[in-house]
């Protein structure tokens, strides 16, 4: 392509290049965008969610043989819709839907079409949000589109995009003026940045300033494998377990620090471990503590060639998958079906999102039909919900998203399904537990949703986690790794220890509580939870305090007060 050639239309090939460009740029900027999240809690990372969403969009685009713009934008939109994760992902999917609707019956895209696409994108995105907030990706997309409307006389699409990007950038820089939280934290809006990034990437793809190959997306895994020799020894062993109470999750937690590609499967009698590590000896010593060893195998992977390695790993994976099928329920599984409730032939099915073995167990006991693995910083996609909705037997379904950042994906999924679905707006696990107590299979979906949502109001959720970065929120100067105490999603205490933070919350947020439930997660122990229980009983001797092992990652404690 000549250097100064003017591009007046975008054909299919060029459009694909633009999309690859955007995907690449998103990848580069992923962690930067993540770092713009105001809340320093490990939750709903905007960069990650937008990247994952766009990635699925591009994967779907790649499936299309046609070079027509209408077909391609449609595929992009559909892929994004299925892959959308988190609020930012859902909004991105709406932007792409608008983009696609503007290109109906179009073979190629001219400057006018592009302008219309940007406008439609912004309009559809606004419509898709219940309460649009200014100072977000919505504002950035609207202002960019508005600028584009004034640029109809620019035929050169590269030039057009340049001006649009300029405006998007300006709009983005103004977001802190519109949203006080952004100003306090000293950042621009993460979603808005994501939108800008995509525009920039598209422009780069258009002019060929980035070299993009079609297979970039799918090839990634293979190329990663080639360089993945940080750990040199593939180490495996079977353990004849001596103590039946041994917990697979615990083994995983204990040894994952020594390498990667970790797989631990088994049952009460035999456990198989596979890990790539530089210290096979440590792994075997550890395994010895659990039981007697059998079929020990250590391979030096550096001596194997890539092909052999790949074959070997495939075989391993297969073996483990087989073993998994035979072992007791696996709580890392993306979907867990509840066979116990299945027998009841209930009219209404329940889907919940959860992380952590203990919490999943409790939800299953309370009658959830199907659990989607996910939660903070692991937001399931719309597609994950669609899959779950297909798998569940019932035609009437309640969804409990259990996270504020997952609700919109659940709602989008329910609008895509033929089933009768109601999304109960649960934002935390304790809310789900309270909601499940009032479930009654005789009632209609809408009544159930109402009953459940009025139950949720009576539950206060405390979450304890560690700051993932420095930040300023709610008047708190937060440093990375500070312990944060959130009450119903708002940071209410910051400190150096979990106990200190909880004590502060007891002081500030106590309202005559009757029942306190502590779910301790990774990084916390039953003894620690007992210490916390003491603090609560000191505050009120009448309150009942219960402790459960939740096993959730990132949040050492989730506590409900009701």
């Amino acid at each position: 392509m000549a250097q100064n050639e003017v591009i007046k239309t975008i054909n299919g090939k060029l459009f694909k290049k633009m999309c690859y460009g955007a995907l690449n740029r998103l990848k580069d900027q992923q962690s930067y965008i993540d770092s713009l999240n105001v809340f320093p809690v490990p939750d709903g990372d905007t960069g990650t969610n937008m990247l994952l969403t766009f990635q699925e969009a591009v994967e779907n685009l790649d499936q299309v043989k046609s070079e027509r713009i209408d077909k391609l934008t449609q595929a992009l939109s559909k892929g994004a819709l299925m892959g959308a994760r988190g609020n930012s992902g859902v909004i991105l999917s709406q932007l792409l839907r608008g983009f696609s609707e503007a290109n109906k019956y179009k073979k190629v895209m001219g400057n006018e079409d592009l302008i219309k696409s940007l406008s439609m994108a912004a309009r559809i995105a606004y419509q898709g949000v219940l309460k649009p907030v200014e100072g977000t990706i919505l504002t950035v997309s609207r202002k960019a589109a508005k600028r584009a409307e004034d640029l109809r006389d620019i035929e050169d699409i590269d030039q057009l995009l340049e001006k649009v990007i300029e405006s998007a950038h300006k709009a983005l820089n103004k977001t802190p003026e519109q949203l006080p939280q952004l100003k306090e934290a000293g950042v621009v809006d993460a979603g808005g940045q994501g939108y800008l990034t995509i525009l920039e990437g598209m422009r780069a793809g258009l002019t060929g300033k980035v070299e993009v190959t079609e297979k970039k997306v799918t090839k990634r895994e293979v190329s990663e494998e080639e360089v993945d020799l940080k750990y040199g020894y593939c180490t495996q062993t079977l353990i004849n377990v001596k103590d039946k109470s041994v917990d697979i999750e615990e083994i995983k937690n204990d040894i994952e620090q020594f390498g990667d590609s970790l797989m631990v499967v088994g049952d009460e009698e035999i456990i198989k471990i596979h890990i790539h590590t530089n210290h096979p000896g440590i792994i075997l010593e550890y395994a010895l503590k659990t039981g007697s060893l059998k079929d020990i195998k250590i391979d030096n992977m550096k001596l194997q060639n890539a092909e052999m390695r790949e074959k070997h790993e495939m075989k391993q994976k297969e073996e483990y998958d087989n073993l998994k099928d035979n072992s007791t329920e696996d709580f890392d599984e993306k979907l867990i079906m509840n066979s116990k409730v299945k027998e009841l032939n209930r009219k209404t099915g329940i889907i919940a999102v959860a992380k952590g073995k203990g919490i999943k167990n409790i939800l299953l006991e309370l009658g959830v039909d199907l659990i989607i693995d996910g939660g903070q910083s692991m937001n399931p996609s719309i597609n994950d919900f669609v899959d779950a909705l297909e798998k569940i037997d019932q035609d009437k379904v309640l969804i409990l998203p259990n996270n504020k950042n997952i609700i919109s994906a659940a709602q989008q999924a329910s609008s895509l399904s033929d089933k009768d679905i109601s999304v109960v707006e649960t934002k935390a696990i304790p809310q789900a537990i309270a909601a499940l107590l009032v479930f009654n299979d005789q009632e209609e979906l809408e009544d159930l949703k109402n009953n459940m949502e009025s139950e949720i109001i009576n539950v206060k959720t405390i979450e304890i986690t560690n700051a993932v970065k420095n930040s300023k929120v709610n008047g708190y100067e937060i440093e990375e790794n500070d312990v944060l105490g959130l009450v119903n999603g708002t940071i209410k205490a910051v400190g150096n220890s979990e106990l200190e933070v909880i004590e502060e919350l007891i002081k500030s947020d106590w309202e005559d509580e009757d029942l306190i439930t502590i779910y301790f997660g990774d990084g916390a122990s039953e003894e620690d939870a007992q210490e916390i229980k003491k603090k609560f009983t000191e505050r009120s001797s009448d309150a009942e305090v219960e402790i459960y092992k939740g096993g959730q990652p990132l949040y050492p404690y989730i506590i409900s007060l009701e």
């Binding site: 006991e365 309370l366 009658g367 537990i433 107590l437 009032v438 029942l515 009942e544 219960e546 459960y548």
Partner: protein, 294 residues
């Protein structure tokens, strides 16, 4: 006309009240570890509680036979002109069936059977009401009418620590019995005029919450059944320690209400404990005074 009362051993009235009103009792039978006991005759409720706690076997219960009814009707017909035979709900036991069978075979008996549609102290309250009406010289037909009306005003709420007894005894349907023992859930069970079984109507977590629920039910019973007459409230329990904390709160609560009431308490007999386990406790609400103008 001299009217006598026969009830069954599930009525859970204290001994002194039974004596005061001359109430006759036909026992049901409980079986445990291949031994049969006549409820409250061969074994006290306390002794039975001890026994079921020390075994992993589940007790079973059986209704009195038609023959046993015949025997007792024969005896009572010699003392009274007519017998009011008031029993636990036909939905819960075959006791009334046995009684009916006895009547069918012996048409000479002067007996009227009344289904209390309840059991335990719910049945007991109806028996007290009948006795009081008899003492006030009401006519038989009138008494039966009043009992059949009054039973509609009675409601029992119960809870148990776990549902295993109710599940194994088949007294609760499967879908409803699906409840997590993992997270200390307490079911709320209800029995009233419309119940065809002891129905689970909800579940809550923790003791404080179940206490609150019981108090709420009392509150709405009182406001729905406004009356200047005496309410009859009762506390039922298997093992008292489960109910103690609640009773303190319940009494305090009742004291604060601007109403007239009588308060009864008693442990439930072996038959009921066989189906609920020792952890059962609950309340019974009834505006009994209205029917005798007390």
């Amino acid at each position: 006309m001299k009217i006598g009362i026969l009830t069954d051993s599930t009525c859970d009235l204290p001994e002194d009240i039974l004596n005061e009103y001359n109430v006759n009792v036909i026992p049901l039978t409980v079986s445990l570890e291949n031994k049969q006991y006549k409820d409250k005759v061969d074994i006290t409720s306390e002794e039975f509680l001890k026994k079921i706690k020390n075994t992993d076997q589940l007790p079973t219960t059986s209704q009195p036979s038609a023959g046993e009814f015949t025997e007792i009707y024969e005896k009572l017909n010699q003392q009274y002109d007519h017998i009011l035979s008031i029993h636990l709900s036909e939905h819960l036991s075959g006791t009334i069936q046995s009684a009916k069978l006895a009547l069918k075979e012996n048409s000479k008996f002067n007996v009227t059977i009344v289904d209390s549609k309840s059991t335990s102290m719910g049945l007991g309250f109806l028996v007290i009401l009948a006795a009081k009406l008899i003492n006030k010289d009401y006519k038989l037909d009138k008494i039966v009418d009043i009992l059949e009306m009054a039973r509609k005003d009675m409601v029992i709420y119960l809870t148990v620590d776990n549902l295993s007894y109710l599940q194994k005894g088949g007294r609760i349907n499967k879908a409803e019995s699906f409840i997590g023992n993992l997270i200390n859930l307490k079911p709320i069970l209800k029995l009233d005029f419309n119940s065809t079984s002891v129905e689970p109507i909800g579940k809550v977590r923790g003791n404080n919450n179940i206490h609150k629920k019981f108090m709420n039910y009392s509150e709405s019973y009182i406001s729905k059944n406004k009356s200047d007459n005496k309410y009859w409230f009762g506390l039922l329990y298997g093992e008292y320690e489960y109910a103690k904390e609640f009773e303190d709160k319940f009494k305090e609560y009742l004291n604060l209400q601007k109403i007239n009431y009588d308060y009864f308490k008693n442990n439930v007999g072996s038959v009921i404990v066989s189906h609920t386990g020792p952890s059962v406790y609950g309340i019974i609400l009834f505006k009994g005074g209205k029917y005798i103008d007390e």
